[in-house]
Amino acid sequence: MSQPLYMAAVFFPLLGAFIAGLFGRKIGDRGSQIVTCGGVLVAAALSIKIFVDVALHGEIHAFTLAPWIQSGTFTVNWGLQFDTLTAVMLIVVNGVSSMVHVYSVGYMGHDKSIPRFMSYLSLFTFFMLMLVTSDNLLQMFFGWEGVGLASYLLINFWYEKESANNAAIKAFLVNRVGDFGFALGIFGCFLIFGSVQFADMFHKAPDLANLSFLFLGHTLPALTTVCLLLFIGAMGKSAQLGLHTWLPDAMEGPTPVSALIHAATMVTAGVFMVARLSPMFEYAPMALMVVTLVGALTAIVAGSIGLTQFDIKRVIAYSTMSQLGYMFFAAGVSAYSAAIFHLMTHAFFKALLFLGAGSVIHAFSGEQDMRKMGGIWRKIPITYAYMWIGSLALAGIGLDGVFGMAGFYSKDMILESAAASSHWFGHLAYWLGVIVAFMTAFYSWRLLILTFHGRPRADAHTMEHVHESPWIMLGPLVPLAIGAIFAGWYADDWFVGAARSNFWNGSIFVLAQDNTIDKAHFIPEWEKWLPMGFALPGIIFAYVFYTLKPDLPGKVAKACGGLYRLVYHKYYFDELYDFLFVRMASRLGRIFWVGGDDGIIDGYGPNGVAALTGRIAKYIGALQTGYVYHYAFAMVIGVAAFVTWFWFRS
């Protein structure tokens, strides 16, 4: 396939965004929908072709488009690179994005600014594509910031809502923290490698493994430091523990946005980045340890919060966060291919779950609280089926050697790799991951039961209006559902199976002694079965809790008391941050504003000078008495003063 077609897969969404964004008024709502959906659908079709060429036939393509920055020894070009990792991401991004685009035609059909929405969606897609196709860190950062911008715009799409404003600002600011790390990481890369081109960096990484540099009198291992800085960026974008607080709030955006950006694609950018930089991370074992621990902790913290939430979208959001944790600890134990595998399967079933949830919310006329749902599975059977498929895939249900849902293959691979790890943190991650598998199954079925079963808890008026979504919304879910069912089974061999070294074709690098995926075949049999052994009880527990004994959850919550409150309030992260950062910053800002700006700068500067000026003016005005003899006196004094001056001077 030729270069223009590769470029089309990246730039068609931009073209759509451009047309819908600037000429939305001219071409109307329908025109905007056609242009943007068309652009992304074409890009998706091309992505499949690219996947076949690149991943299956082993062609690697790289194009340099134009020079970007040239300053001294620092040179960066606009360049596209298509290897297997990119090709997988292209499928995920363009595939999910195109489905979300079509879904949005229905879901946002009654909105008053359709062109803007479609344009933002396409713009997001473009930036995401820039991120995954980049051949250097800086262009990746460009895409990285671009998706952040698009995320901000889309969370705040209903900008009349104050909660949306706050959520958007929060998302942006928390991401800034991560981006700061990322930027420092880029600087560091240039410092130690002298280049930000991936090829150059990876080439030099093995030789520089033991390099160190001085910072404030401390000797730091260079590669580890840089990897950790870059990982901070990944933590921000992928909502890992500590920088995760923005993701649940980001659910203020329209549901298609949550599905595309905050589940399937953007939040996985961090995982992608770590996988892309695997040739660097492999030589920084300390960094890998941090990645594993952060990932595992995120998985369990987010999973536990997910158990207690009632907002349907927030449950899925915490689930997303938890699954991202899986991906990170997979990367941390060097099972990058398993991480990307899970990224791919997760994109399918999580987008499916989100869009299904959107359909539920649609059916309930905008209600998101699961306590006010229930009893509608007969009324919206197709959505119900979708949610089941998504939940089964998420919980990773399957039978080894026979068939499993998508999540079964990828999640099991992650856990087995962790178990096969030769490091202590790998085993810790395995055990936490197993517990999370239980939690995942529990909250998934809790969601299913609360939403669809039991007696209806919505008011009669809402219940009357419950209806299945139109096919423009249900249709796009078909490919996602197929992916959620078959993706794992079909692609297992490529991603983590026997064919994987041909498949990845060098785009992911693993040191021989850390090859956990190989080792995963040799772990004890019970360790392979344990995840399933935890997931199935999760489903049963959920059934008991919410169908057989509906008063049990309340009792358990009461019995656990403090622990329950801790989890229900999301471990008080928001409150802590509010206290530590928001209020401190606000107080500091107030000091600078009232004391510094108003008091000193304005007080002595503009306002002070202005007041002084006014006072001087008044004094001078007072001189003007209106009496001729005063005037004459002034003149005579003036002359006398000059004469005196010369008298004494000469």
Binding site: T613, G614, I616, A617, K618, I620, G621, L623, Q624, G626, V628, H630, Y631, A632, A634, M635, V636, I637, G638, V639, F642, V643, W645, F646, W647, S650
Partner: protein
């Protein structure tokens, strides 16, 4: 004296003859002649202006030339009492133009206020004649005579609305203080004469160049002369008459005051300090620096608290004189050029402002409070826009002409190494920007009574259009004025 003298002084002579003819005609015809005299005076002043414009080119080789280079011909007359050089001609064109525009400006106002008498244009003619003589004076006495002719006419003009107490008061104040200043000037002249024995500029110049250290009497004389002229340009501390006279005199008279006599006095001061006292620059520099800085400061600050637009313009003119004096302090060709460009822009800018003030009427009554501008943009957007142009130009906002006026002055100061002066100038022009911008704010953002009479007749509109266009056209095509100012500056400094 010979025939060539008559030719060289032809503009002045013809203006004098014409003014006297008009006086006779006015007396014979009585009140009815007011309009005829007005139109005739306007035409006459304009024709003389055109003649002056051409005068430089028609000197034949037989005349005693001053400078042959750069096309700046000049000529002495009446036994070196009178000089006609490029500098004088440049200033005279400004003066005649200012007078002509002032005559048109006054028509409506005088008619509406029942002040339409033939004396008015005739007084302006005599004042103009006095100014022309001042500018061309090459002798201290000739200078004094011209100055007095101008001043006497102005005293009468200030009190022109004699039934109005304020007008009479301002005329009287102006007269009393003016007499004092004339006394100072005359005393200074006598001191100079007493210590040197000559009064001609050229002789004085030669004398001072040869003199190693001037006697103290000469310095005192210089101080007195400077004080007398500083009064005329209303520089601090000899400025105090200005606000009262500006406010009390009928508005067209104020416009005339602001435009013409200021320019004439500045030109005379420049010629006096550069030509005869050129070698005493170190001495007079101390005086002029002081009055320049004081004028800039006082004019800018005191303007902030004014409520009458006419008083505001008085302080504005004080500040502007401060800037113009910077040009004299810098001296040399660059300083003179900057000064001439400055006055060429300032006089028409200020005439434009007064045209706006004269256009501002509510139910036939003229308005002169600053707050009266409130809401003008809503009822009369064109007039408001014109005012915006004038105000921005006075505040020195690029790309309007006023910016370039200040630019050349400060550039000259900086190039001459007088940084402090330039800094004070820029800072004070920031202060004064407040009161100019405030008027714009009132017009566009504040609500007022919002009733204004429609734009008045032809005369005012012409002045408004010419001055507003000038502010803009100068930016695009400044060459004629800049070039002529350079030639004029050369003729004065001999550079």
């Amino acid at each position: 004296m010979n025939f060539t003298s008559l030719y060289t002084a032809f503009p002045e002579i013809s203006l004098a003859v014409f003014a006297m003819l008009m006086l006779i005609y006015g007396v014979v015809r009585g009140e009815r002649s007011a309009q005829t005299v007005g139109i005739a005076s306007f035409v006459a002043v304009l024709s003389i202006m055109i003649f002056v414009l051409k005068l430089g080119f028609i000197y034949s080789p037989g005349f005693p030339k001053l400078h042959i280079s750069a096309g700046c011909y000049g000529c002495y007359a009446f036994d070196y009492m009178f000089i006609d050089d490029a500098f004088a001609r440049f200033v005279k064109v400004i003066l005649l133009c200012g007078s002509a525009l002032s005559i048109i400006l006054s028509w409506t106002y005088l008619k509406k206020e029942n002040l339409s008498h033939p004396e008015y244009p005739i007084l302006i003619l005599f004042a103009t004649l006095g100014m022309l003589l001042m500018v061309s004076a090459n002798d201290l006495l000739a200078l004094y005579v011209g100055l007095e002719l101008q001043s006497l006419s102005l005293y009468v003009l200030a009190a022109y609305n004699r039934d109005n107490a304020k007008s009479s008061e301002s005329g009287l104040k102006y007269f009393v203080l003016g007499a004092l200043s004339s006394g100072l000037l005359l005393y200074g002249i006598s001191l100079i004469y007493g210590y040197t024995g000559v009064t001609k500029f050229t002789s004085l110049s030669k004398l001072f160049i040869d003199m190693h250290q001037p006697p103290i009497g000469v310095l005192f004389g210089l101080v007195f002369i400077c004080a007398g002229l500083a009064f005329k340009v209303s520089a601090v501390p000899f400025h105090m008459w200005t606000p009262d006279v500006y406010e009390g005199a009928p508005t067209p008279v104020t416009a005339f005051f602001a435009a013409a006599p200021k320019v004439a006095a500045l030109a005379v001061l420049a010629r006096l300090l550069i030509v005869p006292f050129g070698s005493l620059a170190h001495q007079w520099g101390q005086i002029i620096v002081f009055i320049s800085v004081a004028s800039m400061l006082l004019g800018s600050f005191a303007g902030l608290v004014q409520s009458s637009i006419k008083r505001l313009m008085a302080y504005s003119s004080i500040a502007n004189v401060g800037y113009a004096l910077v040009g004299i302090i810098v001296g040399g060709t660059a300083g003179m050029q900057a000064l001439l460009i400055y006055v060429a822009i300032y006089f028409i800018n200020t005439l434009g402002v007064f045209a706006v003030i004269l256009s501002l009427r509510r139910k036939g009554k003229s308005l002169d409070r600053i707050v009266d501008f409130s809401g003008l943009a809503k009822t009369n957007p064109l007039l408001a826009l014109t005012m915006v142009i004038f105000m921005f130009s006075l505040a020195g906002v690029p790309p309007l002409a006023g910016f370039f006026g200040k630019y050349f002055i400060f550039l000259a100061a900086v190039k001459a190494g007088m940084m402090p002066l330039a800094i004070i100038g820029v800072l004070t022009s920031v202060v004064s920007a407040y009161y100019y911008l405030r008027i714009i704010k009132l017009m566009y953002f504040d609500d007022g009574i919002n009733i204004f009479d429609p734009l008045p007749e032809f005369g005012l509109r012409i002045v408004l259009a010419i001055s507003a266009l000038y502010m803009i056209v100068f930016t695009i095509w400044p060459a004629p004025i800049i070039d002529q100012a350079l030639i004029a500056a050369h003729s004065l400094t001999g550079g």
